[in-house]
């Protein structure tokens, strides 16, 4: 059977898109539209938009791989007509329709097209939200419209309630710079997702919007925004009132998170006099460290995992033997150990010393377990 192949020109464009997109675009499925089904020429892209994904089908033609692709938008967006009237206004339009100069040899052109379409989609959604006949929404929109990076989405469907979703970017600061030594490729951001149900007429008690904090995924190594407790939304409140207090709260949380990195670093450094130099340690966020230890002739590795709640929560310890292996050849590990003497009020060197004492005792138990398990295998 023939192996499924993507025509090289299409593949080059797709690979460029995957590795160079400013946000992560996922390729959900790929299939063929030819009578010869081994030539792959269509795929679905999941493009992040307003803290969700929009799914667009990109339709190439394997019979004619030099031609520009076509795009089928989602079922809710049949009215989205991206290049409408662009023919007449092409001169005044600073953004030229990139399909006019489609160059199949340029691997960047698919990404350019998708980015351009996403921008136009943003304009389209903005226009749809602007047309919603709802007094409160109009007011809220007016107060946040000037925010840079604001995205919005009008959700409407046959069986869905009408609602408007905003993704409001929070904090003007550059989080990448605050976390020293971070090597994030993408700009880290925190957004407030606000979902307003559409009510239409003005009411004295408009429904409370649904609020949720969302961050870029890499930020989780430093701060978990899901754990940040949101301020309550009181009656008659509006976003312009709510956002400044929330931003203040978040700014202090980020500051705390950065101090906690430093504390974790000190702790790992304090472990060194007892356990020796670490085999491996996370030097940026200081969430992990592993040390090689010896007790008599028993050699083992101690893995430390530090949660974001450190020092309130003790580190998770896992012991791993370097002499005992299971049937599949993997080194035997202990379960996560958390039940040991601990106080967040101790200074870091005392923490390290107490853990060292605990491990000195615990390793004897662990050695016994290892020996038993190897013994069982031999029987």
């Amino acid at each position: 059977m023939a192996v499924d192949t993507i025509p090289p020109l299409i593949n080059a464009q797709l690979n460029y898109l995957r590795s160079n997109a400013p946000f992560s675009i996922k390729v959900e499925q790929m299939w063929s539209g030819c009578r010869n089904p081994s030539l792959i020429d269509r795929f679905t892209l999941a493009i992040p938009f307003c803290l969700d994904y929009i799914k667009w089908d990109v339709i190439y033609n394997a019979q004619n791989p030099l031609a520009a692709p076509d795009v089928i938008f989602g079922p809710e967006d049949e009215a989205f007509h991206p290049f409408r009237g662009m023919r007449e206004e092409s001169l005044s339009n600073s953004k030229k329709n990139c399909l006019l100069e489609w160059n199949y040899k340029d691997p960047a052109c698919l990404l350019t097209l998708i980015l351009q379409l996403r921008d136009l989609y943003m304009v389209y959604q903005k226009q749809r939200v602007g047309e919603v006949d709802d007094e409160r929404l109009k007011f809220e929109l007016g107060t946040i419209i000037s925010k840079e990076g604001l995205e919005m989405y009008m959700s409407s469907g046959v069986e869905k309630p009408e609602e408007v979703r905003f993704a409001v970017p929070l904090l003007g600061m550059d989080i990448n710079k605050i976390v020293i030594g971070s090597s994030w490729r993408q700009q880290q951001k925190i957004y407030l997702q606000v979902i307003f149900p559409v009510v239409g007429k003005f009411t004295n008690k408009p429904p409370v919007p649904r609020l949720k904090l969302v961050s870029t995924p890499d930020l989780r190594a430093v701060l978990s925004v899901e754990d940040v407790r949101l301020l309550p939304w009181s009656d008659g409140m509006c976003l312009a009132e709510y956002l400044p207090t929330l931003e203040e709260l978040l700014a202090s949380q980020i500051k705390d998170a950065v101090t906690l990195i430093e504390l974790r670093r000190q702790f790992i450094v304090a472990l060194a006099p007892f356990f020796g130099r670490p085999l491996e340690a996370d030097s940026v966020f200081c969430r992990k460290a592993s040390f090689l230890s010896v007790s008599g002739i028993f050699t083992f590795v101690v893995h430390f995992a530090l949660t974001l709640q450190f020092p309130k929560q003790p580190p998770l310890l896992v012991l791993q033997s370097s002499q005992h292996f299971d049937l599949r050849g993997a080194a035997i590990k202990s379960s996560s150990l958390t039940e040991y003497p601990w106080s967040p009020r101790w200074d870091v060197s005392e923490m390290a010393e107490r853990i060292f004492d605990f491990v000195a005792d615990e390793c004897l138990n662990f050695r016994k377990i290892c020996n038993e398990s190897v013994h069982q295998q031999q029987r």
């Binding site: 269509r42 019979q63 795009v71």
Partner: protein
């Protein structure tokens, strides 16, 4: 300018089936042009069906009938990737007797929704004023543009592939000022007792008119006042007809009756067998040229694959 609404789209069964056949035999996606008529039809109020007639809209509505189509073997045959219409090319393809009422796109394994380019191409087509035409049967002139779009797909999702049917189709009208597609109902017209009377059926096949008179070649032409262009065309057609008749004179028809009738059968049979031989020759020519076209298409495809690095 606000565009007039087309109420219904009709398509004869054979046209639809040949369209579906064209799609299923092509190696990839195809598109092409739709020809036909759009006429103003007065609703018939003579129905015996009480439930529907009383509240029905009595104003005449526009009915589009797709009578034929033209399709090349690939996509983007008459427009650019940015949906600009190639008008000179379109003019060479649209027959003189046909009216372009829209276009179609056939793509395999895709959602049954118009794509970005399909919307843009339909917009370009319907805003090209050079392609405007008039509605038939209308007391006042109604100017229309080619605003129909027919989408043909094959089932796409896994669960759809268990379905028995192999094709989906939908027809849309591009309407201004909304600048969006409106789905239209499509009626398949077959001749038969269930679709009105035979007498109602009008053939829509564009057969060329041949304005030639049956006259005695010896008689003098008396009507010299008529347009010389028409005369030229008529004499050209007459000479073509003469070639087909192969020396069989109109006068010989007189022999149909009378004592010479028995010999006459032989003459007619001879004429027929000559004509059949000519038709056979023609069929062979068509077959050969089709084979050449297919060969060339395959060669083109190989070249395209080569450029695309698929070999």
């Amino acid at each position: 300018m606000e565009s007039r609404e087309i109420k219904e789209v009709h398509i004869p069964g054979p046209t639809l089936s040949s369209l579906l056949h064209r799609m299923s035999t092509s190696s990839g996606d195809i598109d092409g042009l739709l020809f036909g008529t759009i006429s103003l039809n007065a609703p018939s109020n003579l129905s015996d069906d009480v439930s529907s007639s009383s509240a029905a809209d009595n104003s005449p509505s526009l009915i589009a009938t797709i009578t034929s189509f033209f399709s090349s073997s690939s996509t983007a045959s008459f427009y650019s990737p940015s949906a600009q219409i190639n008008l000179p090319l379109l003019r060479t393809v649209v027959p003189r007797s046909g009216t372009l009422i829209g276009w179609f796109s056939g793509r395999r394994k895709t959602a049954l929704r118009p794509s970005m380019r399909e919307l843009a191409v339909t917009e370009s087509l319907s805003s090209t004023t050079a392609l405007n035409f008039q509605a038939l049967n209308s007391p006042n002139p109604i100017t229309l543009s080619p605003s129909l779009f027919m989408l043909l797909t094959t089932p796409f999702r896994k669960e759809d592939q268990l379905l028995i049917h192999t094709h989906d189709y939908r027809v849309y009208q591009f309407r201004l000022p909304a600048g969006a597609f409106e789905p239209k109902t499509m009626k398949i017209i077959n001749i038969g007792p269930r679709v009105g009377n035979y007498a109602d059926y009008e053939t829509n096949s564009p057969f060329p008119e041949m304005p030639c008179e049956i006259r005695d070649p010896d008689s003098m032409s008396e009507d010299d006042k008529s347009d010389s262009d028409d005369m030229n065309l008529a004499s050209k057609n007459q000479s073509q007809l003469d070639i087909c008749a192969d020396g069989f004179q109109l006068k010989q028809l007189e022999n149909l009756t009378g004592p010479v009738a028995s010999g006459y059968t032989g003459q007619v049979e001879e004429l027929y067998s000559k004509m059949i031989a000519k038709l056979n020759g023609l069929a062979k020519l068509v077959e050969q040229s089709s084979a050449t076209v297919l060969e060339q298409e395959n060669r083109n495809m190989k070249l395209r694959y080569k450029v695309a690095g698929l070999e």
